[in-house]
Symmetry: C2
Subunit: 229 residues, 2 copies
């Protein structure tokens, strides 16, 4: 997936293709919030929170600044909504995916990492960690919300899987919380990298990165050392 945004860029059409639209603007109450959040996500990612101007968010969303304030209280509330609306559904999906699963624990772990990568790492959601981390000092409530509702739940997913593998004897005896963090670190780091220094580096992260990460982690976890996959 490329960085293509969800924002309409046909917001202002002056072409004479359809002569029956000389109206200066349209009422689109339902579509606005999503478009605003999409525009904000894009700009927050690129510039950070402080350096993003509300005029620019409005422009990218195809509306005026005043309209922003019909839908959101403040700049900060947009920031909060971006995180809340876009992340929460994902976490829930992961939680139910695990609840449903029945099979070898190493397969579950492999599948969870891969799914996370395709559903978060390769989508626009990947921008959120960078934004939250960058602004954590200025927006403590947001940071706290993110830690409680995203980080801890994600950490628990991985910790539970590893614990299960240890208990069933499939995995070596390890400290599940520490290993959970070592699994997540390269994943989140890759998303932060993509949205910060990657554009300044001519060396791209290949798919091999994730594949090798999975391979290394499983090699240390699985007792019976088959050197496959």
């Amino acid at each position: 997936m490329t960085g293509q945004s969800l924002i309409q860029d046909d917001a202002m059409v002056f072409s004479a293709s359809t002569p029956e639209t000389p109206s200066r603007w349209k009422r689109r109450k339902e579509a606005r919030p999503e478009e605003i959040l999409g525009a904000a996500l894009e700009l927050f990612t690129e510039k950070g929170f402080a350096a993003t101007r509300m005029d620019d968010v409005a422009k990218l969303a195809g509306i005026s600044k005043g309209t922003l304030y019909n839908y959101f209280e403040s700049k900060e509330s947009i920031f909060h909504a971006v995180v809340q609306e876009l992340i929460a559904p994902q976490i829930e999906e992961f939680e139910s995916m695990i609840a449903r699963y029945d099979g070898p624990t190493d397969h579950l772990l492999r599948q969870l990492i891969r799914t996370w990568w395709t559903r978060v790492g390769e989508t626009r959601l990947s921008a959120i960690p960078k934004i939250v981390i960058s602004e954590s000092g200025n927006f403590p409530e947001l940071a706290q919300y993110f830690v409680d509702n995203v980080v801890k739940r994600a950490r628990k997913l991985f910790t539970d899987i590893i614990s299960k593998g240890v208990v069933t004897g499939e995995f070596n005896t390890v400290e599940p919380r520490t290993v959970a963090r070592l699994i997540v670190a390269p994943l989140v780091y890759a998303t932060i990298w993509q949205h910060s220094l990657q554009p300044f580096d001519d060396d791209y992260l290949s798919d091999e990165y994730i594949d090798t990460h999975i391979k290394f982690i499983l090699r240390s976890l699985i007792k019976d050392q088959r050197i496959d996959l």
Copy 2:
């Protein structure tokens, strides 16, 4: 090491301990630049670049705002100096450490990771990655400088070590650049975490994190699978 700063907090002493210092301020041409950079590093880390006020940098450095501009051109030049002055010497030290080394490659790798952790991860230098990443969109030249002078050199250090291990037959056949990134990711991620969301999390990163990371990496690299250290 605690977050203790290098800033003098005795900058304004009104106590009557030494009655012969009623002078309103002191000339300290030599000490100022370092104090300014220390103050700036602390505030940039906490608030990010944009949200840090020059008045606050001055206050923390124990001087007035005007004095800042006797020593630095602009806010941005302070930012640049922070990165340049503090990071460059470290990288050079690592490069010479490797040049000097002669012994088993896995020991060198282990030592490099540990040294990085004590010289960067556990010091105030650990704040720099977070700052650079947060502001990369607004300060492209700084980001480029950082990628060219820090990231690439660090990446090369690790890539060279791994290549050497593969060539000598000590390590399994792996893609050195990919593995180098997987080694660095949890390290840098830990520093970013410390300076962003750690304060909102009751669960601390233990020393076990680094130890386990080293153990996992070496287990995947070393051919002869002894299950020690």
